[in-house]
């Protein structure tokens, strides 16, 4: 049993699958990219699509360049007979949250969650400018790397990091990714490179690429039946901050801290942290908010978003990677984090726990 149960039902991640993340996937449509991952995640549980109680996905029309792009991806699920299903225009971590809530109501015992993003068709740095305040910010086209660089400089000015420390985060992440066959960028030899937007160098930025992730959630005894060592979600919460960068302290992430408190992160030590920090500097902010200051926590053992960052899926992958470590017996208590919006505007935190062996 999980050590804490603040909710009506015990819910666990019982399966996780992801694609190999790649710079381009022109030979595949979105559904052709998604479907094999759905099959893999269902195969892990032995469930068929029709046996799933609730399905929820996350994706972005703007990334695809087409309205209603998710409606065609539903083809890969096999939604017949009709299924109980929903979609968020957010990272899949929030689709998982919606599915978790659905299971908490008792209306479903299992859920299939998936998300995907193809950044290759467009210029994701420019596409993400369309997320910004349409009156004061978007007309200036400040791209995602520029905004992260403003945050990084604020951290350097505050004495919280420096370029060498950021390079070390990048190198550690890509070295860890050597053990991750799905990662797009791996190996300690990945160069830091030149400045993209100073102080961030190429190595401080995430690779741009396409990818898919999928998770199966299950409640109580169903979870135990489907998985030898379920990764129980003992806490999950998400919070948002003000939109304007000039209104926020960019060196801090109060929304992550509040979410972590509500999720019970600080109730007991964690041994693993999967943080959705697309930029090396953002790991600094998140470590502070989540109080991950020692070396006793494995931070982003998958390589994190610096090794693969399929937009709209990278947050769900953090939850999946943390859960997979619990499934494999490599972790007993892990924190997973997902982010959305410029400079960590919105953050989700989940605590995953395995039962003692």
């Amino acid at each position: 049993m999980p050590t804490t149960s603040r909710y009506a039902r015990d819910v666990a991640v019982v399966a996780f699958a992801q694609s190999d993340h790649r710079r381009r996937s022109d030979e595949l449509s979105e559904v052709e990219m998604v479907m094999p991952v759905l099959h893999q995640v269902l195969d892990q549980t032995g469930l068929k699509a029709g046996e799933i109680g609730f399905t929820c996905s996350g994706s972005s029309d703007y990334l695809a360049g087409r309205a209603f792009s998710f409606t065609m991806t539903l083809d890969g699920v096999g939604a017949w007979p009709p299924i109980s299903e929903s979609h968020v225009e957010m990272d899949g971590a929030w689709a998982l949250y919606e599915a978790w809530v659905k299971i908490q109501t008792g209306e479903a015992d299992t859920a299939l969650v998936y998300s995907y993003g193809k950044s290759s068709p467009g210029s994701v740095r420019d596409v993400l400018t369309r997320q910004l305040d349409p009156y004061y910010l978007a007309p200036l086209w400040p791209d995602s790397v520029a905004l992260a660089a403003l945050q990084a400089q604020a951290l350097i000015d505050a004495g919280e990091t420096d370029e060498a420390a950021l390079a070390a985060i990048a190198a550690r992440s890509r070295t860890a990714a050597e053990a991750n066959p799905h990662a797009q960028l791996r190996g300690g030899a990945v160069e830091q490179g030149d400045y993209q937007v100073r102080p961030l160098r190429t190595g401080d930025c995430p690779p741009i690429g396409d990818g898919v992730a999928a998770v199966v959630l299950a409640a109580g005894d169903t979870a135990r039946r489907l998985c030898a060592r379920p990764a129980w979600i003992t806490g999950i919460d998400h919070r948002i901050e003000a939109h304007g960068l000039g209104l926020r302290d960019l060196t801090d992430s109060p929304s992550t801290r509040i979410a972590a408190e509500h999720a019970g992160v600080f109730d007991a030590p964690v041994d693993t942290a999967e943080l959705h920090a697309p930029f090396s500097s953002q790991e600094v902010v998140l470590r502070k908010a989540l109080r991950l200051d020692g070396d006793d926590v494995a931070v982003n053992p998958s390589g994190g978003a610096l090794a693969a960052n399929p937009v709209m899926a990278a947050g769900l992958i953090r939850i999946g990677e943390a859960a997979a470590r619990i499934h494999r017996g490599e972790s007993d208590r892990a924190v997973a984090h997902a982010t959305s919006g410029p400079c960590l505007q919105q953050n989700l935190v989940a605590v995953l726990e395995g039962e003692p062996a």
Binding site: E32, D126, D143, Q153, G244, G246, L247
Partner: protein, 319 residues
Amino acid sequence: MTAASPPEVLRAPLVVEFPFTRSLGPVQSAFLTGLRERVVLGVKTADGKVMVPPVEYDPVTAEEIRELVEVGATGTVTTWAWNGSPRPGQPLGTPFAWVLVRLDGADTAILHALDAPGPEAVRTGMRVRIRWAGERTGAITDIACFEPHDAEATEQATPHDGQFADAVTGIVAAARLDYTYSPGRSQTAYINALADRRTVGERCPSCHKVYVPPRGACPTCGVATTDQVEVGPAGTVTTYCIVNIKAKNLDIEVPYVYAHIALDGADLALHGRIGGIPYDQVRMGLRVEPVWTEGGRHPDHYRPTGEPDADYDAYKELI
């Protein structure tokens, strides 16, 4: 038969472009009109903080805030980032620094560009001032950028009624994004076959239904459709409407008939225009065949074959 070795990947540009018309509301209207007049306005929260640029709602209390104040056109950099390779649409075409600037009299910072000779000339805490655009329309780009300016902060926020002659109430925000679209394996095979004026669908290995156009997955079984099946060329009009209104960007004389057509051998209908018959004589069950024109990727339209109409029961599941 099964799919042959993968054909060359198809790609084509996809441009998403629109001039969005944005209405501003009172606070944003005052701010942007002010910029046109080289006046920078902020808004005061209940606890006395001055927000520049002015927000419509207090980010802490969510209360509406409307008390406008004027602040200086000079300020202090609170953080910066050197942009060595400006991207399309950004304020300057030459290398510049992105900056957050707290204008004199303000408690929050505004994002914009700083024109400086190089990164060594920029630091947090440096003093800057607004360089106004020569032609101003009431938009955030009326601030061309910031520029270095060595002078101590003196100005305080002073009350302002936000009233200007000929206030700007809206902006036109043109936005263009360029994508490269590639349709994927299944549709690529379909499109390539169309070049030979053949319509090739795919059969689901599980339920054996034939999908035209194929979309990569059988949507009811959730498995890849792989077996290619040529269908048509003739088919049956399963249902239709008569279009009496000219659609934008479509050079077709109205009225015309827009129909669902189940090609022989396909298990669902595709869409097409019916020609070669007066529009008011088209009917459900009409047998039709494609008419191709030189250079057209898809059939230009479908025309009657002259066969007897199909029986309703033969196509009622294919509508």
